[in-house]
């Protein structure tokens, strides 16, 4: 996806003034509520017309105030999954799913069938039901299926799991990742939960008060004090690409090789779902990493990585210590007191410690 956005839009006292470019196949939009994320989506989908600027997708201008171009929503072929599922109450589940199939050409070009989608979203048992009988999570799955079956060239998802309980989130989020990977549809996901976005991508657009205040990978955003400030309140997570080495059932651990440095082994709780050799991304929350000045032998922390302090960034609510380790750059959240007590200086050798249990599979 090549998306070039520079728009402004005044709605009452709110001003959306966003400029960003993205070349990623997936992008997460992160920001506090009321920062204009949903309005930005409405502008991308064509449901509102910005007062000025341009939106260009893969070279095609969808909106350009200077050239008086405004492509109406039904001609944009941009799918939007709303926070509230918005199923049509007068139609059956199947009619809802097939709602976007009225454009023949889109169905012909579609790389998957209706049956494939029913399989992928695991909704076969819901087809016979009426829309009112569905639970919140089921409605949202139908809404996602409905949008995908219209074969959009880009998929926008506006907090698709907000308001659902944790177990439902864990049901739907992996679906979204699977859908994105299997169907290769460029996807933009809005969430105020960084963890949700990271399941899909680590490319982020940060928004605040109607403006795009950062667009980069999470790692680069954390490195920059300016953008780190914008991540206020987010649970910062270190992402490490690994390959499963072996399972050790007796000791209850699974060993992982760091992808970029196969010498380095990370141990997580026993997880036989992944065959040895499988590549995956793991996440370690920045506030789950402890620092030590030397290796500690008798401690329950399975993982101890040597490194040195690369940088310390201070934001209003926390300080982030960047540690260059054998598994790559890690971010550890620290208090100012820690910094003084341990006399942390740039270049000082340090060990990063974390429990195998604090590793999240993404």
């Amino acid at each position: 996806m090549k998306l070039d956005v520079d728009i402004y839009l005044k709605q009452g006292s709110f001003l959306l003034d966003a400029e960003f470019k993205s070349f990623e196949s997936a992008l997460g939009i992160f920001g506090p509520s009321g920062c204009g994320k949903s309005t930005l989506f409405r502008a991308l989908a064509g449901l509102v017309r910005p007062d000025g600027g341009h939106i260009v997708l893969d070279g095609e201008p969808l909106f350009d105030s200077a050239q008086h171009i405004f492509v109406p929503p039904h001609k944009r072929s941009i799918g939007l999954v709303f926070q509230d599922a918005r199923l049509f109450p007068h139609w059956s589940v199947e009619q809802n799913l097939r709602a976007g199939e009225h454009i023949k050409q889109r169905v012909v070009d579609r790389p998957f069938s209706y049956a494939d989608m029913v399989d992928l979203l695991d909704i076969g048992h819901l087809i016979e039901r009426s829309v009112e009988q569905l639970s919140g999570g089921e409605k949202q799955r139908i809404a996602i299926g409905r949008t995908l079956l219209s074969n959009p060239r880009m998929l926008l998802m506006d907090e698709p799991v907000t308001g659902l309980d944790a177990s439902l989130k864990m049901q739907i989020l992996p679906f979204l990742t699977k859908v994105h990977q299997t169907l290769e549809i460029p996807t933009i996901l809005i969430s105020h939960d960084l963890g949700e976005i990271l399941q899909l991508t680590d490319h982020l657009l940060l928004m605040r008060e109607g403006r795009a205040v950062g667009c980069n990978t999470l790692e680069k955003l954390i490195r920059n004090p300016q953008t780190l400030k914008e991540l206020k309140g987010a649970d910062l997570t270190n992402l490490i690409r690994v390959r499963v080495k072996q399972h050790n059932e007796n000791r209850g651990i699974t060993e992982l090789r760091v992808y970029d440095n196969p010498e380095e082994i990370i141990r997580m709780e026993w997880c036989p779902d992944y065959a040895p050799g499988t590549e995956l991304t793991i996440g370690i929350a920045a506030n789950q990493i402890a620092l030590a000045s030397e290796r500690i032998e008798s401690i329950s922390m399975r993982n101890q990585l040597p490194g040195y302090v690369a940088q310390i960034v201070h934001a209003s609510d926390r300080s982030i210590c960047h540690i260059e380790t054998s598994a790559g750059l890690l971010f550890a959240e620290i208090t100012p007191g820690t910094e003084q007590d341990m006399n942390l200086k740039i270049g000082a050798p340090i060990w990063a410690l974390f429990k195998g249990l604090s590793i999240q599979r993404l």
């Binding site: 109406p72 039904h74 939007l80 918005r86 049509f88 109450p89 009225h102 409905r146």
Partner: protein
């Protein structure tokens, strides 16, 4: 009380014919205008709405008089209709339809507007992102969801036409067999001494007809509300 005489029957049939014609003639314009008022904001909307709704408050006899002035033989429109198409509305049953339609139309428009404004616009947005052009959104989403309310509005116009008196007698006249609808026949019967039983018979028929259609209209409106109250 004996059954209706042939001339009373003809008044009943004429009333039904006029009311049905009003319903048919006003249905499409009322839906379009109701949708327009419910969904569009534009300059002069208030003025246009007032104009459409004016017959609700203007004395029907004044409406009838204004129709006579515009659609009469020498009226601004009536003259041209007669010259170009040889159509005469004044003192015909089609004239009664026109008079009733003008009076009943605002009721239909109001009901349609209410029914359409109750349809969740977020559903229409969802349809647009699925590739539905505006007309398809209207036909597939808005219209079916608002349908019972729209039907109720048209029935309301039908009911109102059954009872129309002032505008009809002024513009279409009171000609037995051609423009004498039920209310006009009742009025005529009351003018003649000894016709009280005939008047009473027609009053009962009139009440039954109006109540029945009003009841159906109310039921349909409620059904729309119920249908749209379900949160999906």
């Amino acid at each position: 009380m004996s059954s209706l005489t042939p001339s009373e029957w003809s008044a009943v049939w004429l009333s039904l014919k006029v009311a049905l014609s009003v319903a048919l003639v006003s249905a499409v314009p009322a839906v379009l205008l109701g949708w327009f008022f419910a969904r569009k904001e534009f300059r002069g909307k208030l003025l246009l709405e007032s104009l459409v709704h004016a017959p609700l408050v203007i004395p029907p006899v004044v409406t009838g008089y204004l129709l006579l002035v515009t659609f009469g033989r020498n009226g601004f429109i009536g003259k041209r209709l007669l010259e170009w198409a040889d159509i005469r509305l004044v003192f015909t049953w089609q004239g009664a339809v026109l008079a009733s339609a003008i009076v009943a139309f605002p009721l239909a428009v109001r009901s349609v507007r209410l029914a359409i404004s109750m349809v969740d616009q977020r559903l229409e947005e969802a349809a647009r992102t699925l590739g539905y052009p505006p007309l398809r959104v209207f036909l597939k989403i808005t219209l079916p969801l608002a349908w019972p309310g729209i039907l109720g509005g048209i029935l309301l116009a039908f009911s109102r036409s059954l009872g129309e008196f002032g505008a009809t007698i002024t513009f279409a006249g009171n000609v037995a067999g051609s423009t004498q609808t039920l209310p006009l026949a009742i009025y005529s019967a009351l003018q003649v001494p000894g016709e009280e039983t005939a008047a009473m018979r027609m009053v009962i028929v009139s009440l039954v007809l109006c109540f029945a259609s009003l009841l159906i209209s109310e039921l349909l409106t409620r059904r729309t509300k119920r249908k749209l109250d379900r949160k999906i």
